[in-house]
Symmetry: C2
Subunit: 259 residues, 2 copies
Amino acid sequence: MARTATTAAAAPARRAVGRPSKGAIKKEAIVAVALEQIDKVGVYAFSLRDVARSLDVYPATIYWHVNSKDALLADVAGAVMQEVTPPRGKSSWQVWMRDLFFRYRAAVQKHPNVAQLIGAQLVSNSSLRTDLIDGVLIALLEAGATEENLLEAYNCVISSLIGFMTMELAPMPSEEVSQWADALKERVRSISPLDHPTLARYLPKLANKAFIVRWQNGTEVPLDSSFSANVEIFIAGLESFLQKKTRAVAASETRKSRS
Amino acid sequence: MARTATTAAAAPARRAVGRPSKGAIKKEAIVAVALEQIDKVGVYAFSLRDVARSLDVYPATIYWHVNSKDALLADVAGAVMQEVTPPRGKSSWQVWMRDLFFRYRAAVQKHPNVAQLIGAQLVSNSSLRTDLIDGVLIALLEAGATEENLLEAYNCVISSLIGFMTMELAPMPSEEVSQWADALKERVRSISPLDHPTLARYLPKLANKAFIVRWQNGTEVPLDSSFSANVEIFIAGLESFLQKKTRAVAASETRKSRS
DNA sequence: ACCTGAACACCGTTCAAGT
DNA sequence: ACCTGAACACCGTTCAAGT
């Protein structure tokens, strides 16, 4: 039953080094290997037993270092989130926020399969990147957010930040992508101009570049211009939103929320 | 083993009518049961074998009606997406779009666990709701979109529409939520006012109501005001985005946003 | 056309026991 | 403190065979 693994020869060699530093190292190593695996096979096919195999240990060993598969996934997401928060600079809040969006995109483009982890499963988890939250709040206050609308504005920043990339990098239906792509292409071509004149006219322009009518995701067909548009739309909308609330007070101009 | 199902009485009765439509019926039943299961246990714990058990058939039976687990999940997502697209009315594009957003929210609030399915896994799949795409395109053209920016605007609509709800209804780390919640609460309280004065001041206002710093999701603590803000921010931002491109043409404009 | 029965190759997680 | 070895209770999927 337990056939000696083909990779079994490599592991004892590494163990022969005899480092005592294993404890601290191991946790990081597990997260690193997990990230590697997720990059390779996706979060869906990812398994704890695979990372155990990669490290030449028994599956149970993983459980000494990590509480559960979910906890490990949370750590992986946290690792990718590192360094996305831009440093506080002298720049305007708009510049800082644009920077934030593009940094997040760059980070998650390096590990596309982690995007769905961050977006759909554990946005609100352990890592609790205080620097990110702090930075967003500072930017929003600078933008004129008040006690009444800070919460709403913050939530909109986070969802805009993460929402687009979650969708851009959402995995396509795994198996038989090519045949599925052909079917979708066919459906795109067979839209009746009588029933849907607008659709029939513009769908060719959207094909494989727009959500719902694409057969490759952002790793193969990046949606650069749409992402930029999203950033600009959000910032412009945010300006409008924050000014609307303070419009009544704007005459007296008592807005000095200095901390 | 194969106990006669409680619902088994209904099915043969329908077959006795002599319809060849049994195939079509079963497929719908499978999707219905799958949706039920996902509502109950979540998409993570959802299993094909469970739906087989619910229908009192062997697991292999499911595979006669559906190609794979993924395909079934796609059908479930499609079922929830039904009827979110507002009918074309005489109203302005802003009103139609607001309606679209709130209809989507209502639909997905009825089946919160499906939100992550739609958002992160198979947005661009089989169902291909032509009415949704058509409606969005018509609204955008009415809003002044051109051949140059229609694609970008469309993608931003879809990602804004789906992104927020994906995050609002993202499942919390399953096990031991209460103890995990306490840990998060503790961390929220222990923010150093010296290192992060802004954070320390405003975090209590965000606690359990904001992404990343909440311990209950949208099913328990709905983010109503934040969602509304998101809709208004997006529409305002979209107006700005579309007008920017046509500003050269718009010497005479009357931007009174009637609702 | 539709379903059974059984098998295959996996999972995550737990736990005594070793060192 | 860290890991082994084995077990438990599951999975999704395939496939011959039945009716």
